[in-house]
Symmetry: C2
Subunit: 228 residues, 2 copies
DNA sequence: GGGATTCTATGATAAATATCAGTTTTTTTC
DNA sequence: GAAAAAAACTGATATTTATCATAGAATCCC
């Protein structure tokens, strides 16, 4: 069994507020798991009876729209927590999580987390701060979705991906997204996303080989994302 | 000075978790205020050094998009809290709040709330639950903005307004929104909102006299909002 | 390693939505 | 209560985006 103490997730998430004793207890009840690319961590409507710690890999968290298209709400990556919101609201998940590549995760049962939330106010406060920040980010997304064009949103998403993910040896953004995934992040038709990507490539803003994308002109993309 | 104990806001918000003693302390440091229609409670970028309790009236909370259009994120009404998120994240507000009609509000200084958050875990947990629920709602909004047509979003907004606000003697929804406000809720041009409203009126789904709107066929609106 | 499948790409067209211009109506203000 | 300002409305047109159809490229899978 791996120690939680040195875990990357502990360093980056609210779990850093747990005391040594609490951490030891968590260490003993957590379970580790490998999730293969394409596999589902949980589905919309599932009861999520705990919190996932992402030790490695990336997953997309999405929600099915009433008209049958999937909307990617966020990408969860190494060091992140997943499922804490459903745990707090108590009900089943409103979102689906699916692995984009092979993942290494731990699962902490609900009761253990709830116990710590009730007893360790620093932990609760840190969680509160995280949620408040997420809400602020959500406001941004809502404004962008409502007011910006598809071209602007794609430019923004490319910048966002460039910031969030590491680069491989040649500088390509290290995340496995199909064109459909990208379209589902910005909320457009796959064909539209493809067309705009090709256009940005032609203009020298980006380059790509298949799914491997590299940003060549961040300033240019920023100009598109901001200027109307 | 009004007692906080019987206040509507206390009944409907996380403040219900405060103990009698905490409430008495809050009672003594809060300030009451009248805000006239059109006045701003706080602007994007302002330091909001406390929490607003809405005793009466309605305000719109919006955010300016980079292309210069205002997006209404939510409507805040009688019984709601306002400003707690900025308080928790610590920084300045990312949103602007403006009164839609005359309002009666109380203001509780930041330090008092923070003190209670640190000492009363029930209060913190309740706040945590509220934020988690708001995040879930935000997910819904993001999906709708990204995937639904303007017609669908307007239908949805009308249903939403019908649920959220009381009705006057004749059954009209009791909220003062211009056509531009409505357009800024659904994220479209004012002219588009006007056209679709007229269309819905012609189809007998709604009726309106000026800003006073009445829903005549909820089922019909639901069908539009859901079916693609 | 070759067939099946999924993914990417492109053109043609249709549909949705924004913009611009101008008019009428309502609301505010003095 | 009249003038000014703001809001609501309508038509014409341009732009954006989705849809449909089809073909080539990459990937998966025995």
């Amino acid at each position: 069994m791996n120690k939680c103490e040195q875990c990357i997730v502990r360093q980056l998430s609210s779990l850093r507020e747990l005391t040594r004793d609490e951490l030891i207890r968590i260490s003993h009840c957590k379970t580790s798991k490998i999730v293969k690319r394409g596999e589902v961590l949980f589905n919309e409507g599932d009861q999520v009876n705990g919190v996932f710690c992402i030790k490695d890999g990336v997953c997309k968290v999405s929600k099915m729209s009433e008209n049958g298209r999937d909307q990617v709400i966020k990408l969860i990556t190494k060091g992140d927590l997943l499922g804490e919101r459903s745990l707090i609201t108590g009900g089943s998940s409103n979102l689906t999580a699916r692995a984009l590549n092979d993942m290494e995760i731990c699962f902490i049962p609900k009761d253990e987390i709830v116990r710590d939330l009730k007893q360790n106010n620093n932990f609760t406060m840190s969680m509160l701060k995280d949620l408040a920040t997420s809400l602020r980010d959500a406001d941004e997304v809502i404004v962008d979705m409502a007011q910006k064009t598809v071209k602007q949103r794609l430019a923004e998403t490319l910048i966002h991906l460039d910031n969030k993910f590491p680069k491989d040896d040649e500088g390509y953004i290290d995340v496995y997204l199909t064109r459909e995934d990208i379209a589902n992040i910005i909320g457009t038709a796959t064909e539209s996303a493809i067309r705009i990507l090709s256009d940005y490539k032609k203009k020298g803003l980006i380059n790509f080989k298949g799914k491997r994308i590299i940003i060549q002109d961040v300033k240019g993309l920023e100009r598109i994302a901001q200027k109307y």
